[in-house]
Symmetry: C3
Subunit: 342 residues, 3 copies
């Protein structure tokens, strides 16, 4: 694709250099070479622009000053990140999977499959399940019984969807994710843990993405819910009966016990833990590695284990760093006091 074409496709104005040159691929500003397009969207990377070897670079007008290599065509646009993202997609199109059901797949008689789907080898679809138009179930994935999968979903290899799960449209589930296993609940009677039957399910709304090897347990009686547009990273544990709002971000290795409510737009950074029955408010931010044992207000930013207001937690941390020295000082006080008292 020529620079000109790419610019037009991505809503940018070429400026400088030769916009008739071809672009083959995309790269970041530090490693891009000739025939590549890159992006400058953050002022802190501006220092790399003067030595940039890319043929073209998306940039906002605000970042346009400074040294620009002679051969570089700037692609001036309003939102360089989004224009570049469009360019990446255009230059590296996702390979289309053939629309077919592998003869090596196992489809139950009562499953209802749309015509326009891809089912890979060794994938299996259970009784009474349905899969919508444009969806893909990759090699080795298991779709249980009575599962509903909407349109344009992609279930990657070896993911497992247990019985009765409901999955909306445009949902991506990465390899090894386990949707709908039993929650972890027992009653201790007569010297043994008696399993609480889990007869609920998992409901995943549209536009959700679920990372590799993430586990989302079914509800005990009702549903575990993941709201519209929420994104969940790899190796996350989401226990039974949690309710995750819309556009929530849950980063890698978070663990959410059970019966929690995570408000719309909340962000849980990496390895956050949340205790049972906790409510996390709308747009709250829980910083990395925090352990949340109490409700978090909407918009709050919390940190630590147990998590508290970020600034309070940091003040404590700063104080702790001074504590060894403070203890020395207090010893001196003691002698000064004693001296005065004598």
């Amino acid at each position: 694709m020529l620079i000109n074409e790419l610019a037009q496709l991505c809503g940018a104005i070429p400026q400088g250099g030769d916009a008739e040159r071809p672009i083959d691929s995309a790269a970041d500003i530090m490693s891009a070479q000739a025939r590549q397009v890159t992006v400058l969207s953050d002022g802190k990377y501006k220092k790399y622009l003067k030595d940039c070897r890319a043929s073209a670079c998306f940039v906002a007008e605000a970042l346009l000053d400074g040294d620009i290599p002679a051969g570089l065509t700037l692609l001036v646009c309003e939102d360089p990140e989004m224009s570049f993202l469009g360019a990446v997609k255009a230059l590296h199109p996702e390979p289309a999977l053939e629309r077919l059901i592998s003869p090596q797949a196992a489809i139950a008689d009562s499953a209802v499959l749309s015509a326009d789907i891809h089912i890979g080898p060794f994938a299996s679809v259970g009784q009474h399940s349905s899969i919508g138009d444009g969806s893909t179930v990759d090699a080795g994935a298991r779709i249980g019984n009575h599962v509903v999968i909407g349109k344009n979903c992609r279930i990657h290899p070896n993911a497992v969807i247990y019985d009765h799960s409901q999955i909306g449209n445009n949902v991506i589930i990465h390899s090894g994710a386990i949707i709908g296993a039993d929650g972890f609940g027992y009653k201790y009677r007569d010297n043994q843990h008696v399993k609480v039957p889990h007869v609920g399910n998992v409901v995943i709304e549209d536009n959700v993405e679920i990372g590799a090897n993430t586990c989302i347990d079914r509800g005990a009686l009702g549903s575990t819910r993941i709201g519209w547009g929420s994104k969940i990273d790899n190796l996350v544990q989401l226990g039974h009966n949690n309710s995750v709002g819309k556009n929530v971000i849950i980063c890698g290795q978070c663990g959410i016990s059970g019966s929690c409510e995570i408000g719309d737009g909340a962000i849980l950074a990496g390895s956050v833990g949340v205790a049972d029955h906790v409510k996390i408010g709308t747009r709250a931010v829980v910083m990395a590695r925090s352990g949340v044992s109490q409700d978090v207000d909407a918009g709050a930013q919390v940190w630590g284990s147990p998590a508290k207001d970020r600034k309070t937690a940091w003040r404590e941390l700063a104080a702790l760093a001074k504590l060894p020295e403070l203890m020395q000082k207090i010893k001196q006080f003691e002698s000064r006091l004693t001296k005065l008292e004598d």
Copy 2:
């Protein structure tokens, strides 16, 4: 099922309402509707009873006072949790899996399978392995060579059991769990990490449940053992040569390094880490997100990282919260002292 029938089945006495009404399903006290049964087992949910729309509710005599909706049939019993659990099972029976070996499974010649089992499509069973009566190996699960699986086990889709694992009766292993992978051990020689061969195995006793995507490594020479009735949640890492006692509870995302001994009835809450060669005593409780680096006494309750006695740790935490303020006070002391000294 009629309320009367359910009551009889679950050892409860109907009281009030019309016990000839039908019940279709079970729900929690806040969301239950007509034709549903619910339970009140914890005084803190008692406030929901007066607006409860369920047709029937299991309850202990001790919780019987207060406003009760006119149409609600109380099901008075000794242990409402267990009675309700029985009702859930009766109303939502687990679908029976056909007793067959899928023609799309791969069973080694020398494998010994009982007649009364279910093996799903794309499951494979290796050489010299045996599977007992009533057990299920679901779609895509891999049973290695020389594996013994007892009676009435359920191996969920895409779980993997490595060679030589021994699994008792009534064991549930959820999807994606990996039983018997090599432990993590190397010797550093000549500028490289030389792999320690792992020739031990994993032994899982009766009535154990293992969560989705949990990993239990084989012993280096001997066995990694999980004792009778222990329950392990999702995404847990259990390293080589650990010995887990009976009726132990290990919650999600715990990590137990290696060669540890976890005593009978111990509880490890979510995301607990345990260092190598640590002993955790009988019925000890390790609270969530603790890091255990030293032995824990039987019956002890520990918290923190490194974990210590729960009360001691909390006192430290409370003190830390006051530290910033304390530092202010100490500054004032300093001036007061200096003033006195002058």
Copy 3:
């Protein structure tokens, strides 16, 4: 195998006992019995030697004094750990997998497979992928399109290698590991998280081992790299664009966000977290459960969350333990001060 033969094979000199006795297997010094060989490599286990029931024991000259059971043949050698490791391999040889492609595997037309390989049932290999001599792809593993796998690799059951991954020689990938899933990146526009396309890949160099259920995400544009000889334990999350050096050790449940650089020979103990764009220097050691938010110097040893110099962190910890008592003391100071002031 006779003790004499084992000694010769493993570079040891038999001393005492009857070296013509047979050895069947290996065990640790505390549990070894007759016909077993064991090892004493660490002085702290020396106390077990006098009651050792093994037929033979590898030991270094330095540990040779003290009571030695009459029937025990010592196998004196320079490096008992390595000699024993050789003995374990000789006594417990890994079973050879038949060199064949299962008729129940799915191999794309354009895949290029060496003759001398094992592909298990329900494994699948995508278009344009190649697998080198001596490699094994076990049951149910999925190799995507355009994947390169070198020689003598072992891909365990149900592991998944996404498209375009490049894997060197002698690489072991355990069950359930997911190599090359999309990184976790979104741009928030118009009230939704827009997915950043991930068109990079994962490159794994020779002699790497990857644990069960570990996830290594592909680069957004470039590659996520794992250097020569590095060893990664189970349930580790390695995000997009990380660069892991040579001979790095990453223990179970670590989480490394993205775009980090981990220097050669660095060690990350269990459950360590590393924030985006952090550099960890050569041979640095990050102790268990630390959260690293800033660069770590080469050779440094850090601990805590946020991680800091190990000794500094421990001093703070020790001070914190004394804080509750200190607060009592400060109260007393206050009264003493007030008294003096009056």
